[in-house]
Symmetry: C2
Subunit: 392 residues, 2 copies
């Protein structure tokens, strides 16, 4: 029996590693929270004023932050300097290969989208055949971007969100072979391949970092995009499973006598919902709008789909005891139209102890969540070691 | 938006906190791995030989470890000293309130059960009415234990595993109101209340620390004991949810047209299994034995129950992408008798990417897993700060 996997290797931290850790903690704080006074940093990071002063000087010297006097303090005395992330100069590229569209953005430190491009993804386009389009997006943003070319700009890397499902030319949605996206990510005209994650997982990361689930440690983000995947945060950490394939909640069987699913099984959650309302973004919007205008069959479809939605959510609530469930992608509109049915099913089907504190929400970042999450991946290296990364 | 929950508060580590961390890491290593040479500790903990020497001297001085020459080295030269946990002298109490029995054990450092007591739990006994029995167990082990009274014994604390389900006098199994166990845990004749967890969660902890799931970071332990609960480990960490109520996988709905369940819902996973084979330990054993002897209705019941078991496992595999699923409690016998059906359902129902690396296992610690897990809770304080705890 080996204990090595349970016991982190520890060595005595050096002064250098402590400084690196503190620089990362300070930069992460302003990346997540935005403009922050030195006084708040002192109290939040548990460091003394002179240490905060030295750290901010280092980060400002590397071009990662600015410091300035706050516009208004409302208090007497000398105001505490405000530390600001240099969002327009410190940036990464975020890419997103979704079922029905391709997107790219230049995202600044602090999670700010500075520029973006988008095109529909033609049916049946393999992931590797989307890369030329994405490379073109990056090229175009490089040429037109004011910051990117300037001498003091800091490029931190790139991240990519990939939908594991794709719509083939025959209209059927199938799961990508694992690794397909990662193998193909070399060819974007970047020095280093982008860090990859799946769309639901990165949308969850974004909503947890700076969206509807900020400050909550147990979160299920459900992403509807032809299929349903979940990004799961438990105890403040992403749950991705052994090979990164966790979160395939759409293929949870909810009715063994249900419809045949493209995955080869029967009665999968997403298939039972989609028999009433197709999980394409446009189709959901159209159906919800028809229901709103009083079309009886659309109203019935929304009611049935929302009821199934509630079934699966109840199962996940029993399994995870989360504080929030966030309905993203195509599920946003379905949830908003059928919230009463979702809540009703949750209250009859989930155990009281598991559902008592759960909040049902829609994404604060809307459709940008996967892109913002991909950018979070791009920033990870900088936040782990700010000065080394900024200078490389 | 507050970032405080995402950013751990950091302060510069002092020499003292580094030493405490290293003492804890060394003691945890021998607690999990058993007898370990100084040479292995040096390489595994990333510390130099003189630091390891100083740490082992401190731990030996506090009576927590012994050092000695290994019996056989098979190599020339002076052998590296072997560090051994003092299992017979450093101990905690582990308690377990299960649906059908009450247990207590004295468990030594290293996870060794030194002594134990057990009685059936009469139907309908509330948790608080079991405490007198458990207090009697502890009292009895205290009086008869050789180590407990001696001058150099170190008592580290106690842990308790509590089944969240109870069988009422009418035979119906219902969920405990949350907190019932914790509120009632004051009265055991101990200086400090025991640290509490639920049975499945602690059995998972035990199997992950020193059992069938050692070294695996993504594990689902399924505990059958009138109902089905899961202990979930994701990314090496326990997933317990917001209020500690996660893992109620038995109430995942697998058939909306299924049987009414005691929880108020319909077609819950545990109810669909139990319509074929009751989830009592004795009932499962009897049914499996009858099937083995060729009884056709018992064989049919095992086949159907195992098929449902596989359904739920497939759902969990799609959600978590685990490396191992461990079948504990009453599920052990059912899984062993119906493994082919469980595997068959898994291969038709779970996505290939999610199930590719999953191993199906039975507990290495058998029925002791909840007790050993409760002991792990008892040892946590010692392992976090060995010298302070040993001297208090």
């Amino acid at each position: 029996m080996s204990a090595s996997s349970q016991i982190p290797q520890r060595s005595t931290p050096t002064q250098d590693s402590v400084r690196r850790q503190n620089l990362g903690a300070l930069l992460r704080y302003v990346h997540v929270s935005g403009d922050t006074s030195r006084a708040e940093l002192t109290s939040q990071l548990g460091l003394n004023r002179s240490t905060i002063g030295a750290l901010t000087a280092d980060l400002a010297g590397a071009g990662l932050i600015d410091e300035g006097v706050p516009l208004e303090t409302g208090r007497a005395g000398r105001p505490s300097l405000v530390v600001r992330p240099r969002s327009s100069r410190v940036y990464g590229y975020a890419l997103s290969i979704e079922v029905d569209r391709l997107r790219a953005a230049r995202v600044g430190l602090g999670g700010k989208i500075l520029d973006s491009r988008e095109l529909p993804r033609p049916r049946g386009t393999a992931v590797r055949d989307t890369l030329a389009t994405l490379a073109g997006f990056i090229d175009d943003m490089r040429r037109t971007g004011s910051a990117a070319g300037s001498a003091d700009a800091v490029f931190v890397g790139s991240g990519i969100a990939v939908s594991r499902m794709m719509r083939h030319a025959d209209g059927v949605v199938r799961m990508l072979p694992p690794g397909a996206a990662l193998d193909a990510a070399d060819d974007l005209g970047l020095d280093r391949p982008p860090v990859a994650g799946n769309v639901a997982d990165l949308a969850a990361l974004a909503e947890h970092t700076r969206g509807a689930a900020a400050g909550l440690d147990n979160v299920i983000y459900l992403h509807g995009d032809a299929s349903i995947s979940a990004g799961i945060i438990a105890g403040g950490r992403r749950v991705t499973g052994h090979g990164g394939h966790g979160g395939e909640v759409g293929h949870m069987v909810v009715d063994p006598q249900g419809l045949a699913c493209g995955c080869g099984s029967r009665g999968c959650w997403e298939t039972e919902i989609a028999r009433h309302v197709s999980l394409d973004r446009d189709a959901v919007t159209a159906c919800v709008e028809a229901a709103r205008l009083g079309d009886p069959s659309a109203r019935d479809a929304v009611r049935r789909a929302a009821d199934w939605l509630g079934f699966g959510v109840a199962n996940l609530v029993n399994i995870f005891n989360p504080t929030a469930v966030v309905f993203g992608g195509a599920l946003r509109a379905l949830y908003l139209a059928g919230a009463a049915h979702v809540r009703g099913r949750l209250s009859t089907t989930a155990l009281p102890a598991c559902r008592d504190h759960v909040r049902l929400r829609t994404p604060l970042l809307g459709d940008d969540a996967p892109l913002v999450g991909a950018a979070e991946l791009a920033f990870e290296r900088l936040l782990a070691d700010p000065l080394e990364t900024a200078e490389s």
